[in-house]
């Protein structure tokens, strides 16, 4: 490889039947305004954004519509956020698909499946998540599934037909980063062992560019962020920082980092050094 710039040779992120140019997926919630959200999406140059399915406000139809602030070229990834049972997640996914089909958006058969099991930690319910993954796959959805960092359930979700497994680094919106890097490493190794391009995306809990770079450096295919950008003091600056962190982490992964060693290893040659006493003499 003539690798002056390995990113130039990098593959696009392939999820199900779709290719994404950016390995950063952003959310559309918790921004100060729709305008600010749009500026972040543009600054980060994302081509996929998550959206929620919620009840239409029946008495406030004059308000801004979020769709006016989502650029046409963006693939929308409808989520099932807030669902605590598989049946609610399935209904939500079906309604999301109906809306996106109507809009002609390519994300119509995609769903970010999220079935929660605990309202305080917002950690997922693995059993309901698995059931919903099977059912939605059967219904023709391409399921990108949010899960905990448990390697066993991650493997079962892949086997159930998920087109991407998206382990959380730590609880949703917590900004704790990757709480258990060992588990994430095991997930990456197991899901990719016979299928190196199978997408694993770190979905939740990331708070800083360093967290994002860490995920990509470890070999995650991408990250999905919302709160880390939307609730930053300067969201647009953070959106740019996250874009750079994704590029930095991915490039670091492709470049292949050095092994860690217990002792020092001089980067300047010792040959030709003038005479002196060194601390380890005798």
């Amino acid at each position: 490889m003539t690798d002056i710039h390995p990113l130039a040779d990098d593959k696009l992120l392939s999820i199900g039947t779709r290719l994404l140019k950016s390995r950063l997926i952003l959310g559309s919630g918790r921004y100060g305004s729709f305008r600010e959200m749009q500026q972040c999406h543009r600054a980060a140059e994302v081509d996929c954004v998550t959206v929620a399915v919620r009840r239409e406000k029946l008495h406030d139809s004059a308000g801004n519509n979020i769709l006016d602030f989502l650029d046409d070229k963006i693939v929308l990834l409808p989520n099932t956020a807030g669902c605590f049972e598989a049946s609610a997640a399935i209904r939500t996914a079906i309604m999301g698909r109906e809306i996106l089909e109507r809009l002609g958006n390519p994300g119509a058969n995609w769903v970010k499946l999220e079935v929660l099991g605990d309202s305080r930690t917002l950690l997922p319910d693995p059993l309901e998540t698995l059931r919903a993954t099977e059912a939605l796959t059967e219904l023709g959805f391409e399921v990108l599934v949010y899960t905990s960092d448990d390697p066993v359930i991650a493997r079962k979700l892949k086997q159930a037909g998920a087109v991407a497994v998206m382990p959380g680094g730590s609880p949703i919106g917590s900004g704790q980063g990757i709480a258990n890097p060992l588990n994430l490493q095991i997930i990456l190794e197991q899901l990719k062992s016979d299928d190196p391009d199978y997408p694993v995306i770190v979905d939740a809990g990331l708070g800083s560019p360093a967290d994002v770079a860490q995920a990509l450096e470890m070999g995650a295919d991408g990250v999905l962020l919302n709160t880390a950008v939307a609730r930053a003091t300067h969201p647009v600056s953070m959106a740019i920082a996250m874009k750079l962190a994704v590029l930095s982490g991915r490039l670091g992964f492709l470049a292949g980092r050095i092994d860690k060693s217990r002792y020092g290893s001089a980067s300047t040659p010792e040959i030709g050094m003038i005479s002196q006493n060194t601390p380890n003499d005798n």
């Binding site: 959206v51 239409e56 139809s61 309604m95 109906e98």
Partner: protein, 76 residues
């Protein structure tokens, strides 16, 4: 299909968990018009089953039907 009597009698349904009275049975299409919902990005469920947009005009609402009208909003 609803009978003439159904059209004439008021019906009470649930819309997004709120009781609402209609002057008579009406289709999902007519309901959206009455609610002045112009947003094209809505999906409708009646009694937890999706009503495909193509059938909005032929799906008539009955007493105590539970209607969900949803759209896209911000989320992560």
């Amino acid at each position: 299909m609803p009978t003439a009597r159904d059209y004439a009698n008021p019906v009470s349904i649930w819309i997004n968990d709120t009781r609402q009275s209609l002057e008579g049975s009406m289709s999902v299409d007519q309901l959206l018009q009455q609610l002045a919902i112009v947003n094209p990005a809505v999906a409708v469920e009646v009694n937890r089953e999706l009503v495909p947009r193509a059938t909005f005009a032929d799906t008539f609402l009955k007493q105590d039907d539970r209607v969900e009208i949803v759209t896209l909003s911000g989320g992560g």
